[in-house]
Every structure is written in C-alpha cells, then in structure tokens.
Subunit: 289 residues, 2 copies
C-alpha cells in the first residue's frame, strides 16, 4: 500500500510538490489556509481536509511548507493544528525556512507524541519544485531521513543530511545569506559601472570570463539589466530569511556586517515595491529617483 | 622585426608576464624598483635598465603593472618617469588596478606626447599570469587595442574592450568588488554555520548543489575550512581595490553599503595579520579571539 502523505501549504512551492507526490503514486491529503488554492490538486486526485489536524491524522508522513515562523507556529500549535492530529509513529517534515530554534521546538513536540521530526528546507525555487529537482537540507535522525527518502525523492533530486534537529535550517539560512549577498554584490557593482557611465552589459560580458562568475550572476544579472523582476523567489522571503539569519547570528554572537547591509538594502526596496518582486529587484536600491 | 616591449613592475604578476613575452619572441626591456627582481628575466634574455624613462625610450609598447595609484604616479610622472622617455607613436598600457580618473589623466599625458594609452587591468591571478591566460579589461581606443593585441596575446587569452579611457578600470573595480563581497558572503555564512555548532564542511557539501554555487566558493571556501591563506591574490590589494571602488562610488554618488562592509572586514583582518595573506583570510574576522 502506498504511503499516505499529507501536505500543508500549497503556495508557489507546495503546489508543484503536491503534483509530484501524486504523479509518484502517493495517496495525498492536502490543506491550505486559503482552501481554493488546492482545487487543481483535488482535481488531480488529492483529498482536501478542513484543518491541519485532520490532514495530520490521515498520514504517515506529514509535510509542511509555509512562508515563515509565525505560519509554522500556527499550523503546528494552533487550534486544530498538526500536533493535535499527528498519529504515533508518523513523521513530520517541515520544509519551511524558519529558525533552527523553532525546528528544535517542533522536534521536541513530535517526540512527546511518539513521532519523528525532520527540518528539511529546500532549495531550487519554483522551477525545481515543478521539475521535481529540489534539494532538501535535512536536520534530524539519519534513520528518519532514510524512512522518508522515497517521499522526498518524489519532489527532489537530492537530500543531504546536515546534522541534528535544526541543522537543515542552519544550512538553509547560510545558503540564502550567500545568495542575498551575492545579489547585493552584483547589483552594487552594476550601479558602480553605470554610475561611471559604462553600460551594465560590459560588466556582464566580463563576468563570464572572471573568477567572479557564478550561477547567480548568470540568472540574476540579466534580470537587473532588463529591470524585469517576475518573482522566482520573492524578495519578501529572501529578506525574511536574512532577518532569521541575523537572529541566529545574534544568538551565537556571530558578527554579521554582510547580512546587516543586505537587510538594509532589501528592506528599503521591499517597502517601496508596489508588487511582489523577485529578490533580484534589490537592484532598485541603486536606481535614481 | 619583433616589437620592442618594455615591462615595468616585476611583481607576482609582472614577472610571469615578462617570461611569456620573451617566450613569444618579443624583444623585452625591464625595469623594477628593486632591480634584483629582474635577475631571472635578464637571464632569460631581457635587457634591464636603470630608470622608467630608459625603459620607455627603448620600446614601442610600454607595459606598467605596479601595485597601486601612488606607484603608477611615481613610475609615470616621477623623476626619470615613463612619460619623460616615451617615444612619439608608442603605446603605454597600464595593467595596474587604479582609479578611472588616474587612467584618464595618464591618457591625456600620453596624448600630449603624441602617444596612445590603454588602461588594461587584468584578472586571472598569478596562475593566469604564469599560464598566459590572463584576461585584460581594456579602456581606450579600439584601434589602439588592435595594435597591441599581439602583445596582450602573449600574456593573456582574452582582451575585452570595455569603453573609453578608464572603462577598463571601472569594470576591474566592479569585478573585484563582486569578488570581495562573495568572499564576505562565504565567510559570514561559514561563521554562522560554525557558530550554530554545525561543521563548515556541511555548508561546502550543500553549496555544490545550490543556486549559490560559484567559482569563488569552489576555490576559497576550502581555504577557509583549512585556514590556509597562502596569497594567490593578496588581501592588501583586494582591500586597496575596495577602497578605490568606494572612491569611484563617492565621485558618482553611488551608495555602497556592500563595499563599506567588505572594507571594514578586510581592514580589520589586514591590520591584525602578521604576514601577507590571500583575501580569503578575511574569514579571520569571524574567528574567536
């Protein structure tokens, strides 16, 4: 019999992940705060329920992927939350990006109910979610990861065990910090070039031949050159993650001048933006008014 | 008859560039502030002279590659400087990294003497200099670049025309700014991970699979993990270039929170360093005392 999987959170990431679970033959129960976002998954064979606890009660593997720590807290500990429905012996996998402390708190709550927990934030964006090519950064017990590997394999191409509970979140916040700062680097350099009267395309031409070349420059610099910021990964989430990184750094006494600068830039642009934009839009910080 | 080339500045970059000019059959005259640094080039067939003006007088193409703006000013405008010796019709190529303003000033001085000027800073490090695989970012007239292309081809694999006088320096400062900030990003993320009790190797493992992957992370993160900082490109030069980028930004009114943060980190580490270190050593900023 196929494993029963519950999926909570049907946003830009959750929805394609759900379709890939169905395609791979898993029995899927879904829940989302705005129920209508699950319509096409229901049409494709998923069962929709009204509360997180009902979703959890229906599954051996429960996956949550929501936008931020308050959303995770509400879905897990809220009225009719996941923890109220979780069956003994099941596994809760949180693929949201939150603080390691919250991940450890969730792990403890699962343990008290005879369940296992994994923090398993993802990278790969909506494109990776659609293609089933996500990469999971996993914190928790290695044997629990082994148990859910077939489920992760339906949605992703790789799952890396990063350490104990919370370790997945630590690595995720660190990788997003690198992305945010690479984006600041690219945008600030572009502003410097344009400010000196040289076309930004010359920087792009040179970067191909440079030690500074990167995947991020390949993908995001063209967006900056064209001022085209359709969200692949929204600025508001990248900015939120930089905030979480700063929180984590403060806990362990790590100085973070880079994250501080990136957060300043992203916050200014996010406040001024009238629409949802990709994090490449932080380049707007340098636009003349 | 082979073009007579003069090379001034026989440091980590200049010396291997000189050997490649000789290997490619150019008649080479060399000068260096500390004359002994030219011994092996003389042994390989170069002619050594006592002053920059003598070197310039001996050549159709004069290449300067010294460490910073004051060094360029001294070599060009100082007593017995290049400008005093430059023959009408010759080309001065400055491969040092300096401000665009200084490049334009040199171009003007060359013009007054009936000579051409190119700013042509390089990327590729000592490794690229030794293999003859440097990339030149060139500012100046396209036809002048065409004239000296055979000479550049002896030392590098690519020469990109970036725009008018100074444009090569603008792009060079921008690419080094990207490198410096990528390095801050990597080191700060590493500190965050280690501060949370997770081995830095886990970050490296994940970065391979991430959107954040880059040439810089491939090369510099292992150095940081091992704390091994033999200079390929010295921190003091990277820090100097960040200072020049800030100068350029200030001239054109470009805000530079990233460069400001990078400069703070690099200056703290440079001051504390007892030896010459690679710029990857900026990771020491996050070491516990």
């Amino acid at each position: 019999m196929a494993t029963n999987v519950a999926l909570l959170g049907l946003g830009l990431m959750g929805k394609p992940m759900g379709h890939n679970l169905l395609k791979n033959g898993f029995a899927l129960t879904v829940w989302n705060r705005t129920a209508a976002r699950g319509d096409d998954l229901v049409a494709a064979g998923a069962k929709r329920v009204a509360t997180p606890s009902e979703a959890a009660a229906a599954a051996e593997v429960v996956i949550t992927i929501v936008s931020d720590p308050p959303a995770v807290e509400s879905v897990l500990w809220g009225d009719n939350g996941v923890l109220a429905g979780l069956k003994r012996g099941s596994v809760l996998v949180d693929s949201s990006t939150v603080t390691p402390a919250l991940a450890r708190r969730a792990a403890e709550a699962c343990g008290e109910r005879g369940c296992e927990f994994l923090d398993a934030p993802v990278t790969g964006g909506t494109w990776g979610a659609e293609k089933g090519e996500l990469v999971f950064m996993v914190g928790g017990k290695a044997e629990t990861l082994e148990r859910v590997a077939p489920v992760l394999g339906a949605m992703g191409k790789q799952w890396l065990h990063m350490g104990p509970h919370g370790a997945g979140q630590v690595i995720k916040l660190a990788t997003n910090l690198i992305l945010a700062l690479q984006t600041v680097a690219t945008a600030e350099a572009l502003a410097l070039v344009r400010g000196a009267g040289i076309p930004g395309e010359k920087l792009a031409e040179m970067m191909q031949a440079s030690m500074g070349r990167s995947k991020l420059i390949d993908v995001k610099l063209p967006m900056m050159l064209e001022g085209r910021y359709t969200p692949s990964f929204p600025l508001r989430l990248m900015n939120k993650d930089a905030g979480l990184a700063l929180e984590l750094g403060a806990e362990s006494g790590v100085r973070m001048p880079g994250a501080t600068a990136a957060r300043e830039v992203m916050t200014a642009v996010e406040r001024a933006a009238k629409e949802d934009v990709d994090y490449a839009a932080l380049a707007r910080y340098w636009q003349k008014a």
